[in-house]
Amino acid sequence: MSHAATQAHAATPAIAHAEGQQHPIKLYLVIWGWLFVLSTCSYLVDYFGLHGYLRWFLILLFMILKAGLIVAVFMHMAWERLTLIYAILLPPVAVLVFVGIMVFEANYTLFTRLDFFGTGP
């Protein structure tokens, strides 16, 4: 049992190295096409001058979709083990906490500027 487990573990990296990352070229062309479509969409958001929450929502949506496609397919993250995926993709979540902190900080700075230095130049 434990012997079989060791063998299985030892065999996995060897197989992965022999194969490398082998995927059909068509996959990359399809993703390439989608990235073009998504970039065009985000450009059109600006071209048609959309404003307010709709603009921000669309910009962030297209940004996340593009980033996801690049990381998952082009950088082969979709085929890596969970161990590597979490080691790389979890730490950036801390950045979102930082964003939250800096939103408070920026609002406070703006408040002090408006309150103590008049309405600005």
């Binding site: 573990h9 490398g20 390439w32 083990r81 590597l84 790389i88």
Partner: protein, 240 residues
């Protein structure tokens, strides 16, 4: 004769996925990343650290933009180009975005052909990637020249908040540096591929380690990351 029991045991052991394997990997002896080579893992960890650097730039940009009492210059107008007598918003930035995405496409295909051991196709695709990257840097130089002539400085500009210039030069400058380093890195690896270093496992000049086609994939990780950062800059700086 046939003894199916051990086979199923091995199969179930290799197949079990998710949290069980995650926990087994992290609690295992000596090596946590079972399928990724150390070179690939180190590139990923470097990219993670680079993610934090770019995050800090974008965060400071967000902070100064939110806290300024002066209106922020409208990027749609600042980065517009006159085409056929009328201004087209953000057109150069859009072209740069498409060029960088195309370079990512050719890079992904180069990695694929590398693992198929078609070295000439791989090298050609890598050189195409480098050419796209170089044209991207060229357009960025054009954009910088245009803005500097129009009076944009890190400490001020004719249209609004002073922080616009410093954020712009810092963020796009750092990204452009990454692209430039990537182009040099691409040319070095493409030369090795063309010469057949990875077929003959020729040892590297600095590292004295045997070259493998995985080097192309690791190079690709860096290049895709440069494209990935541009996705965020395009959305948060130019479109916001």
């Amino acid at each position: 004769m046939a003894n199916p029991a051990p086979t199923t045991t091995v199969a179930s052991l290799t197949r079990h996925d998710g949290w069980e394997r995650f926990a087994a990997d992290w609690s295992s002896d000596q090596r946590a990343f079972k399928t990724a080579s150390w070179g690939k893992v180190m590139m990923w960890i470097f990219l993670l650290s680079d993610t934090f650097i770019f995050s800090c730039f974008l965060l400071s940009y967000m902070t100064v933009r939110m806290s300024t009492t002066v209106p922020w210059p409208n990027p749609s107008e600042v980065f517009a180009l006159e085409l056929g007598g009328k201004p087209v918003p953000l057109i150069l930035i859009a072209i740069m975005t498409f060029i960088l995405i195309s370079s990512s496409g050719t890079m992904a295909m180069a990695v694929n052909y590398g693992y198929r051991r078609e070295r000439r196709t791989t090298a050609a695709l890598m050189l195409a990637t480098a050419a796209f990257g170089a044209s991207f840097v060229g357009m960025q130089a054009f954009e910088w020249t245009k803005l500097i002539r129009e009076g944009v400085r890190p400490w001020g500009n004719p249209w609004g908040a002073d922080q616009f210039g410093s954020s712009f030069f810092m963020i796009t400058g750092f990204h452009g540096t990454h692209v430039t380093i990537g182009v040099i890195f691409l040319i070095i690896i493409a030369r090795k591929v063309w010469r057949g270093d990875f077929d003959r496992e020729r040892r590297g000049f600095f590292t004295s380690r045997k070259g493998r086609y995985e080097n192309v994939e690791i190079m690709g990780l860096y290049w895709h990351f440069v494209d990935l950062v541009w996705v965020f800059i395009f959305a948060l700086f130019y479109l916001w």
